[in-house]
């Protein structure tokens, strides 16, 4: 199977969804991301990324939880699929392998 490439932003969005668990939808993901990373994230880019991740099969979604604040509109809750989890784990492994392969001197120079 051809491995689907996971971009950097996609990766953190996917991770955030995983962190939020049951409560992951557009708004919470955006706010969580802003808090955790400290960078200002546009809602539109988060939304687009969530859509793309769903298309790739890393996320599944279902509708629910309409509130008055939203003008009676439902939320689209996202959950990470098995493929999604696998992809996250793979990315983590690759990172760890790469970190492990780093010469100790270089690591020290980086202050690690």
């Amino acid at each position: 199977m051809k491995r689907t490439f996971l971009g950097e932003f996609e990766e953190i969005v996917l991770l955030t969804v995983a962190i939020l668990g049951e409560e992951a939808y557009g708004v919470t993901v955006t706010q969580e991301l802003e808090q955790k990373t400290g960078r200002s994230v546009g809602f539109s880019s988060v939304h687009t990324t969530l859509q793309r991740l769903e298309e790739k099969g890393f996320l599944a979604s279902q509708m629910g939880g309409a509130t008055a604040e939203r003008g009676g509109r439902r939320k689209r809750f996202f959950t990470v699929t098995a493929t999604g989890r696998k992809a996250l784990v793979e990315v983590k492994q690759v990172r760890e392998e790469l970190w492990a392969a780093l010469p100790t001197q270089t690591l020290q120079l980086m202050g690690g």
């Binding site: 557009g26 706010q31 546009g42 809602f43 939304h47 509109r73 689209r76």
Partner: protein, 880 residues
Amino acid sequence: MQHTPPRWAKTLLKWWAAPNTSEEVEGDLLELYNHWVATVGERKANWNYTLNAIKLLRPFAKDQRSQFPRTYLYSPTMIRNYFKIAFRNLLKHKGYSFINVAGLAIGMTVAMLIGLWIYDELSFNQYHRNYERIGQIRSISTEPSTGVSEGSPHMPIPMGAALKENYKHLFSKVLVSWAVSDYTLKLNEKNLTGRGHFVEPGILEMLSLKMLKGSYGSLKDPHSIVLSKSMAAAIFGSTDPINQSLKIDNAIDVKVTGVYEDMPKNSRFGEVQFFSPWDLFVSSNAWVKENVNFWGNTSFGIYVELQPNVSLETAQAGLKDFYAKNVPTDFMKLLESYKPEIFVYSMPQWHLYSDFTDGRPAGGRVTFVWLFGIIGISVLLLASINFMNLSTARSEKRAKEVGIRKAVGSLRTQLIGQFFSESFLVVLLSFVISCGLIILALRWFNELADKAISLPFTNGYFWAGSIAFILLTGLLTGIYPALYLSSFQPLKVLKGTFKAGRFAAVPRKALVVVQFTVSVVIIIGTMVVYQQIQHAKNRPVGYNQESLITIGLNDPNYKDKYDVFKRELLNTGAVSNVALSNSPLTSIWNRSSGFTWKDKAPETPSGFNKIRVTSDFGKTIDWKIIAGRDFSDEYKSDSAGVILNEAAAKYIGLKNPIGEYIKTEDGKFVWQIVGVTKDMVIQSPYEPINGTFYFLDSRKVSSQMTIRIKPTVGTTEALAKIETVFRKLVPSAPFDYKFVDDVYSQKFSQEQRIGQLSMLFAVLAIFISCLGLFGLASFVAEQRTKEIGIRKVLGASVSNVWQMLSKDFVILVIIACVIAAPIAYYFMNEWLQKYTYRTEISWWIFAAAGVGALIITLLTVSFQAIKAALMNPVQSLKSE
């Protein structure tokens, strides 16, 4: 407080965001927006919301939740296809297309002409910027003995001063004036007649005239005159008119101080060619000077302009007790029993509401605006019905196309769209043609309607109106075919079992009945209008109008020259008689009350027309004395004599009036009745004749000369001779004559105009209806080709077939006539009620209209019927 994001951004998002995620996106953004408002403030929140919304627009995204691709309505390819098919259909059936386009083009032309006409009527007087605040003072008084109220625009001069002084809070301007009249303007030896208005100087500003030379203050100089541009050009040519001297009526010296741009024809003041100050009128007319402070002479007009913040209602209310507060008590005593009051007759009413009931405006030309509006819509409807009928009649031909389109996936909405696009195409084509027709017909129409209308191509409203008009017509013509044709079921149509049922033709027939009902109503209406005009024209005038001319003697040099004039004119050999009178033969300038006679009941109103005539008046106009005798120079006592007309004699009610006396109530004047003449129609030919007194003008100073030309002498020759006499005796005055019968026939001009217009519309209406009938007949004949073939083989004759085909249509037209007759009777009877001297609507009008419609129908249908009946059955039966 609840904050909401910018509406336009919300709408944008709703319309153009990706359809399958729009719900949660809208919700999420709303939630975030509230968060932003709380954290970074509303402005930033708005900005964030908009930015995100714009970023999320996916205008080309399709709804992916559905399993099948959605057909969408506005695919350019499909629209191109619709138009292609529409064009092919138009070209394939040239005959039907011609009927449709020609009918619609004519219908639209009529509707647009009427639209322009109505626009012109409604915009009357709107040239004046403050027209809503301008008005004229009118009075109402009630005759105590009869309780009849009458109104008048004629006011006494001191009323102007009273309004100016005590009603400043209501009126910003109060202008006293003398009625617009004809004057001669003289420059050196050149003489011109022009219509002039003597009025207080504020008039230029009140009417917001465009001053080309001079200013709104130009009339302040008491000897000034302000000319219209065309009048200035007529007098002075290209030389500068400012400060040039002119003489009005060869008596009043004035200096030109201003020139204004001509007012358009659709303004009450459009005919006025010059203005001069009121003070000049006062100072040059002794009788006016005497009346400056006299409340008893009501001969003058008063214009007012309301203060900007005063409403018309406030002004009317403020004037309620005008008489009690302002008129001197001794004078008020005389008036009290008449309950006089005044009100402002506002400019927007002047044109359309010029008929008065009990002294208050009630209707007028506005009736014709309604009438023609209805006719315009009706004619357009007739043309639309043609389109509907021909489209649905030929539906079987299009049924297969509809079936296939539906089978390959067309939705009903798309088919509706397709058939609408076809009707829009036809309407658009017709619109272009009708614009051309209007350009061609406009000059002629203007002449007919006495207007100066042009197609306002540069006016944005015109284009907006045109587009609305096209859409409306397209909708009107297209809606029925579109709904009908798109309702076919593909299965039936394609299997070939589709047959329009027995009742499919019922709506079509109903529409034909509607068409002919409308046409027949218009035809009957036209005939009644003509009958009424003819009726009034045939009314005996009571004197001989032939080769009678009248001249107004508007020059002081005519004074004391009457005897010379008479001698010289008779010497030419072209004139059989000459007379003077103080009203022309076609109107009454004087009317008084306060007369009494033997056995008069004290409460009887005593208003009579008064005409002062010379003793040769009767012989000149050839009136008919039915009792007593005419005035004669031989009886010196005739200077205190009076001749009554029949109406007056009947009113006075004396068995033998000759020799009796008419007195003024104060007894100062007494006249003896010397004769009674047959009634003469002097005022409106539609009204009963008023009682009239003819007094003898023994000093021979009246201002209207009537001349009878000898019937044996040619008119041109006679006029040349008469002119030489005038030139010789009063060279300072222009020789400006009118034929009495011409002036008289102008009394019919409004009715005649309406008659001609409705005649035109009637002809077009019936033409359009027949076009449609022609199309339907040809369709029926085509559809029944086989049947006709078989009938002929079995021995039917041509006339049998002709009867069979014509019968259906004839029945429809008869039904239409039956429906139309009472409708037409009702409306025309209403119309006639406004004339006192009116014709009866006779039965033959209905018969003639019905028979006429039938004959036209038969002619139209027969062409197709006979063509079908003459066909060789071998030809029609050999296929299959």
